[in-house]
Symmetry: C2
Subunit: 429 residues, 2 copies
Amino acid sequence: MNSALSFLIGARRCEIDELDQLARTSALVGTIGTLVHALQRERGISNVWLASGGRRFAAQREEQIAACLRAEEAVRSSFGRLDTEAPRIGNGARLFSRIAWVLPGLDALPELRRRVAAMALSAAEATAAFVKLIAGLLAVVFEAADGATDPEISRLLVAMFNFMQGKEFAGQERACGAAAFASGRNDGARQQQWLHLIESQERCFQVFVEFSGPALGELWRSSQPTAQLAEQERLRRIACAAPPGVSLDTELSQTWFDCCSRRIDAMQTIEERLAADLRLLCEQKTARARAELQAHEGLLAELAIEPGAASAAFFDEPPAPVAPPGQPRALAAPAPFGRQLERSVLEMVQEQSHRLQAMSDELETVRAALNERKLVERAKGLLMAYRRMSEEEAHKMLRRTAMSQGRRLVEVAESVLSMAEYLPADPVR
Amino acid sequence: MNSALSFLIGARRCEIDELDQLARTSALVGTIGTLVHALQRERGISNVWLASGGRRFAAQREEQIAACLRAEEAVRSSFGRLDTEAPRIGNGARLFSRIAWVLPGLDALPELRRRVAAMALSAAEATAAFVKLIAGLLAVVFEAADGATDPEISRLLVAMFNFMQGKEFAGQERACGAAAFASGRNDGARQQQWLHLIESQERCFQVFVEFSGPALGELWRSSQPTAQLAEQERLRRIACAAPPGVSLDTELSQTWFDCCSRRIDAMQTIEERLAADLRLLCEQKTARARAELQAHEGLLAELAIEPGAASAAFFDEPPAPVAPPGQPRALAAPAPFGRQLERSVLEMVQEQSHRLQAMSDELETVRAALNERKLVERAKGLLMAYRRMSEEEAHKMLRRTAMSQGRRLVEVAESVLSMAEYLPADPVR
C-alpha cells in the first residue's frame, strides 16, 4: 500500500507541477496582452504619422513607443521566468519554439521604428510588420492555451486567446477602415477583406463568451454601449455597402478611428479582468492541490507506522460507486488502521483515476475550440509544401478562396486537407 | 538573436527530456509485457489446478509462480525508476495514478495464491482476479501510449498496447474455450462471450498491423502457421456453431488449450521484438536530438562572439519555403557571420515550428486509434455516475447490449454518450 500511495502522491505532484507552470504561462499571457495592446496603438499611430507625411502624431508616437518598451520589458522578463534549462512543461517544445520565433521580431522593432521615423516605408508595409509581430505573440498565447492540462484553466486560456485574437481583428478593421475613409473611396477587394475581418472577430468573441463564463460575458456586453455599436455599424455600412468607385467622406476617417478606438480600449479592460481571473484561478487550484497532497502525505506517514498486512482486498468487489465525474469525494473518513486504511487507499486511488479521466474528457472538449485554427495551420503547411508558397502567400490564397466562395476560412482549410490525397506523392522541392 | 536561440535550445531540451522519459516508460512497457505473459500462464495453470481438484499442474504452478515473481520484480524496479519526486512527464498524473491503482493488486497476489493453493475459491473467481490485475497493467501501458509526445514512438506504443490487449483477449478466449470443452457443453451466453472475444482480438491485431509497420506485420503473419490457424478455427466452429445443449467432446479441452497456447507463446516473441524496436527507436531519437542540440549550442557560442546588430530581417519576406512537413532541412549552410547568421537562426526557428506542427498533427492521427477505448471508458463512467453501478457492472452492461444488438462495443458506448443529455441534471448520489 505504501508504494501505491507514493504513486498517488507522485500523481498529485505532477498536477501541482503543471499548475505551477500554468501559473507562469498565465502570467506570461497577461503581459503579452498588454504588449499587444500597446503595439496595436503604435501601429495605428504610425499609420497616421506615415499617411500624414510626418505632420501628425509625432509626440503621440514617442509616448506610445515608450509604453511599448515598458510592456516589452515585462514580456521579456516573463519569458525569462520560464525555465528553459530544466523545462517541466507539457507542450514546452512548441511553446518555446513560438517564443523563439517571436523574439527576433521584438529584436527588430528598433530598426522598424527607425524606418518609420525616416518615412522609409509605406503605411501598408508598417502595418504588415506590426501584424506579423502581433500574430507571433498571439501564437505564443495559442500554445499556452493548447498546452494547459487543467480543463478550467484551459477554458479561461481559450477564452483569452479568442478574445485577444478578436481584438486584433478589430484593430485590423480599424486600420482597414481608416485607410478606406482617408483615401476617400473603397474598392471591392478592401470591402471583402473588411467583411472578413468583421466575421472573424465575431466568431472569436462568440467563442470567448462561450468559454469565459457568464460574469465576463455580461461585462463584455455592458462594455459596448448600444449607441457606440450603432455608430460603428453605420460607418461600416456607409463604406462597405457603397458601390465601388463612389467617393467616401474623408472627414469620417477620424470619426471611424475614434469610434473603433473607444471599443478597442474597452476591450483592454475585459482582457485585464480575464488575466486577473486566470491568476486567481491558478492560485486557488494550486492551493487546493497542495492541501490534498498534504492529506495524502499524512496518510502515508500513518501507513509507515502501521504497515497493514497485504490482503486480497484489491480483488474483492469494489466499494460503493465513486462520485460522479468532476465531483471528487471528500477524503476517506477516519478509523484509519489496518484493513480499513487499506480500503481507504484503494478508494482514493479509484477516485483519483476517475477524477483524472473526467478532467481529460473535459479538456478534450475545451481544446476542440482550438481545432479550427489548427486546421487552418495544417492547410497552410500543405500549400507551403506542395505549392512552394510562403506562409503569407498560403494564408492569402486560403482567404481569397474563402471570400470568393462565401465560405468560412476553416471550411476552405478542410476542403484543402481533404484533397491532400490527390496531391502528388512527392511535394515540389 | 541570442535569446531566440536560447528558446530554440530550450525547445530541444524539452524534446530530449520527453524522449528520456519515453525511454523509461517504453522500458516499463516491455517489463509489463513479460509480467502479463507470466500472469496469463499462471491464470491458465491455476484454472487447471483448481478444476482438477489439485491433481494436475502442481509443479507447473510452483514454477510459474517463480517466473511471475521474477517478472514482477522487474516491473517494480521499472516503476521505481520513474521519478515521482520530480516528475517531468507529459501525462504523469494519469500514468502514476494507473500505477497506484495496480500496485495494491500486485501486493495482493500472495494472498490470491494462498487461496488458490487452499482451493478456497473457484476457477471462475481466480480467473476474474487475474483478469482484473492484467487489465490494470494494460491500463498503465495505455497511458504510456496516450502520453507519448513523439509520433513515431507513439505509433509503436499504440501498436504495443493493441497487441498486448489482443493477446489478453486471446488468453481469455483460451480460458473460455477450455471451460466449455471441459464441461462437455456450451451455452448461448458463453458462445456470445466467445464470439465477442474473437471479434475484439481481431480488432486489436488489425490496429497493431496498421501501426507496427510492414516488418513486424510480416513477422506476425508468419508466426501463425496456416495449419495451426485452421485447427483453431475448426475448434471454434465445433464449439460456437453447436446448438446449445449439444454435448462437446471433453477430450478436445486439452487439444484446444495446446492449440491456443502455441499461438499465444508465438505472440510473446512478437511482443519482445516490438519492445526491442521501441528501445532502439528511443535510443536513436534521443541520439539525434542530442546531436541537433549540440549544433544549436555551437551556433549560440558563435553568436556570443559576433552578436550581430539587430536588423529588420524578421519583417522581410520569408526565405525560400521550408521543407515539407516531417522532412526537416539540414542545418543552415556555413558562411555564418552577421546578417547571414541571423538569417540562418530565423530559418532554423521557422523549420522547427513547422517540424513541431507536423509532429503534433501526426500525433493526433496516431492517438485517434486510442479513442475507441476512451469512449468506452467515458460511457462506463457515465453509467457508474448515473446508475450507481460498479465499473464491472457498467462494463458488463455495455457488453451485453453490444452482444444482443450485434453492434461493436464502441458503437454502444457512443450511443450511451450521445444520450447523456437526456439523463437527469443531477446524478444519483
